[in-house]
């Protein structure tokens, strides 16, 4: 049985959104018959994550959280994976890092003919509507930013290869950009540069035919 691993810190506004949106991916993963491992909130720490990866050797890992060109972070921004320290821990797998800039250096180092790294080479932007802040699932603006990311993972879980999954995510980003361009509400235009940014900085590195 193939294994998926979802890492879901939740300690500030942004990680709360990522935590909420990634919940449906856990459900989808279980539904599709994967052995699904979830480490969230305080459990999304370096010790726990390292142990899980070594013991279970998951085929797919999704990181949700903050990052930079050299690091992917967990709960309270604890570094989980660091370039030239423990990046080899996530080799020979499909990695999706929903975190800022981690594809720029770390991803490049991880990616090879047997390893896939999907991530962002610069900042991942997230928009929100303050009128919905108290209720994440009602925030239709945030959904425009996070649905493409979820589609990417759902596509992988469905059996598409990584290249197809990234194309699907990019197409949904383009569709959402078009939707915003014709949206009559005055705030719509303000999200456009940031959604376009995500389209530009999403990157697929390494083995582009890998699938679960």
């Amino acid at each position: 049985m193939k294994k998926t691993f979802f890492i879901r810190p939740c300690h500030d506004d942004v990680t709360s959104y990522l935590h909420y949106y990634s919940k449906e991916l856990l459900i989808e993963s279980k539904k599709r018959g994967f052995k699904t491992i979830n480490k969230e909130k305080a459990d999304a720490n370096a010790l726990m994550i390292t142990g899980i990866i070594k013991k279970n050797n998951p085929d797919f890992i999704m990181f949700n959280g903050h990052g930079n060109p050299n690091t992917i972070c967990g709960h309270h921004d604890e570094p989980l994976i660091k370039l030239n320290k423990n990046h080899s821990l996530i080799k020979n797998k499909i990695i999706y890092s929903l975190s800022c800039s981690s594809a720029l250096k770390l991803g490049k180092k991880v990616a090879d003919s047997k390893s896939t790294f999907i991530g962002y080479i610069d900042e991942f932007a997230l928009g929100m509507d303050i009128n919905s802040q108290a209720v994440v699932h009602r925030d239709k603006r945030a959904r425009l930013f996070l649905e493409p990311s979820n589609l990417l993972v759902k596509s992988l879980l469905k059996g598409n290869n990584v290249k197809e999954a990234v194309i699907k995510a990019r197409n949904l980003m383009k569709k959402n950009i078009s939707k915003l361009k014709t949206d009559p509400f005055p705030d719509a235009k303000d999200y456009l540069p940031y959604l376009f940014n995500n389209l530009v900085v999403l990157s697929l590195l390494g083995n582009d035919s890998a699938k679960l």
């Binding site: 997230l126 929100m128 509507d129 303050i130 303000d190 999200y191 540069p193």
Partner: protein, 71 residues
């Protein structure tokens, strides 16, 4: 000199674009963890912080893409 003038002009355009933002919009960028409202975005750009520079880059790239008919 021309490059410096361009950069000042771009920043001015971006500041104007942010001033015209709807009040309900918030954007999160980088590892700040918090969403930034219109006033926060203005401060970041005006003070030329690393986040402010990213905002200018994002806005400029979008305007260029619009100009080139890419979107």
């Amino acid at each position: 000199m021309i490059r410096k003038n361009n950069s000042i002009l771009v920043r001015k355009i971006v500041l104007e674009r942010i001033k015209n933002m709807a009040p309900n919009v918030k954007i999160a960028l980088g590892s700040k963890g918090q969403f930034l409202n219109k006033d926060d975005l203005l401060k970041e750009v005006a003070n030329n912080t690393p986040i402010g520079e990213k905002i200018v880059k994002i806005q400029l790239r979008y305007m260029q893409a619009l100009g080139e008919g890419l979107i």
